[in-house]
């Protein structure tokens, strides 16, 4: 039996994570008695100090699937920590597994999926550092829409594409001799989408801030503006 380890790495603590939900969806596409599935949540692993056990699980994996949010056009600090520490652990171990396949799913808040490319390339570089084979990435724009608006008519196409991408992973892990695969880009681009997105996004922040007792103008505070500009009175 082969081991599949699915790693989600949203830094969120109690809130629902898009990356995690996407990973669970991806996992549900892998239906085979030949594979065992284990989920690791990086935030939980660090909070509960379960790293040693989880690193051991990773080291025994035949397939690694990472899902995480884009943070500043690359990987969140929490995942960077997890992978750097795992790399050290990996180097200190003997008998590394051979032929490990790695996949990356990166989702972001902005609508354009292509901005996730560098984050996917980081997972590729990490794979090379642990002598694993990076297969391909799924780059998802407007991540939260894939969960929150998945029933909406205008989301039909992207959701279908998402499911087909998950099926591609499920099929690819079964192949022994793997040909190169291109990464898959999934965005939510329909005419007007960007404008609606910007408008709704803006309104959304104000509504959330009001719930915390703030006024609209409070959102624009500049707490670190220390330099005072001298006023000249004539």
């Amino acid at each position: 039996m082969k081991n599949i380890v699915l790693v989600s790495a949203s830094p969120k603590i109690n809130e629902k994570s898009v990356s995690k939900e996407l990973l669970v969806m991806a996992g549900s596409h892998i239906i085979s008695d030949l594979f065992s599935k284990v989920f690791i949540d990086v935030r939980k692993s660090i909070l509960t100090k379960n790293l040693a056990k989880d690193f051991e699980t990773l080291a025994k994996a035949d397939v690694l699937i990472f899902s995480f949010p884009l943070y500043y056009f690359c990987m969140p600090g929490i995942l960077t920590r997890f992978l750097a520490d795992y790399h050290n652990y990996f180097n200190s171990r003997e008998n590394a597994k051979k032929h490990v396949k790695v996949y990356a799913m990166v989702n972001c808040g902005f609508p354009e999926p292509e901005i996730n490319l560098e984050a996917v390339r980081v997972i590729k570089s990490f794979s090379q550092h642990i002598n694993a084979e990076f297969r391909f990435g799924i780059l998802i724009g407007g991540g939260s829409m894939m969960i929150e608006a998945k029933e909406a008519p205008f989301m039909k196409k992207p959701i279908l594409k998402l499911k087909s991408a998950f099926s591609s992973i499920a099929a690819d892990i079964q192949h022994e001799d793997s040909t190169t695969m291109d990464s898959i880009y999934i965005g939510v681009d329909f005419p007007l989408y960007r404008r609606i997105y910007h408008y709704m996004g803006g309104r959304g922040w104000i509504t959330l801030a009001r719930k915390n007792g703030l006024k609209k103008k409070d959102l624009y505070k500049k707490p670190y503006c220390l330099k005072t500009h001298p006023r000249i009175t004539l």
Binding site: S10, K12, E15, G77, I78, A209, L214, P223
Partner: protein, 186 residues
């Protein structure tokens, strides 16, 4: 003129020492007053993606650790230089925590940039010049290229350099850069 140097306590190798000496000498010669901030896993935790810095305490992180001092210092410098160990073609964990937790310095709303890409608007009228110097031993060309793409492809007002490189190359590149505050081109 104030320069802020941000470094990572976890990777203070010989290469780092060489880079640190070079940059300090350059800044001193230019007449900068230099402040050094060292990040470590003990004084900085991870962003928790709560957006509290936008909707609870606008402009400030809600986690009470060393980040407030760093963000304040960044916003009150003329130039900020990150001395960053390259890990998998990416930032190091500690430096990435500082970058993630710089989110309070932007506004939550969305704008479309001239190239059609989405971004958040700036919170402040001007920002320090930002230079990221990636360092390391035996970094592959692929990882160097990735590091440059990560820093530069999607952000304006940011410069990137790789070390080691001959001192003259670094100094020449630094001399070509604007080392003062710029408008909010994020």
């Amino acid at each position: 003129m104030r320069a802020l140097l941000i470094s990572d306590q976890e990777y203070q190798t010989k290469t780092y020492q060489g880079l640190n000496d070079l940059i300090r000498e350059f800044l001193n010669q230019k007449g900068f007053e230099v402040e050094l901030m060292e990040s470590s896993a003990d004084n900085l935790t991870f962003c928790m993606g709560c957006f509290g810095c936008w909707i609870k305490k606008p402009g400030e992180c809600v986690i009470n650790d060393g980040i407030a001092q760093i963000n304040r210092s960044v916003m009150n410098s003329d130039v900020v230089i990150y001395l960053n160990p390259i890990i998998f073609g990416h930032f190091s964990p500690n430096i990435k925590n500082i970058i993630d937790r710089g989110l309070p310095n932007m506004l939550p709303f969305f704008i479309t940039r001239p190239d059609g890409s989405t971004m958040h608007p700036p919170r402040y009228d001007s920002y320090p010049a930002q230079i990221i110097i990636g360092y390391g031993d035996e970094i592959t060309d692929e990882d160097k290229q990735l590091f440059m793409d990560i820093t530069k492809r999607h952000r304006r007002n940011i410069e990137v350099l790789i070390y080691p490189n001959p001192t003259e190359t670094i100094i020449k590149a630094l001399n070509r850069m604007e080392l003062g505050r710029v408008g909010g081109l994020l």
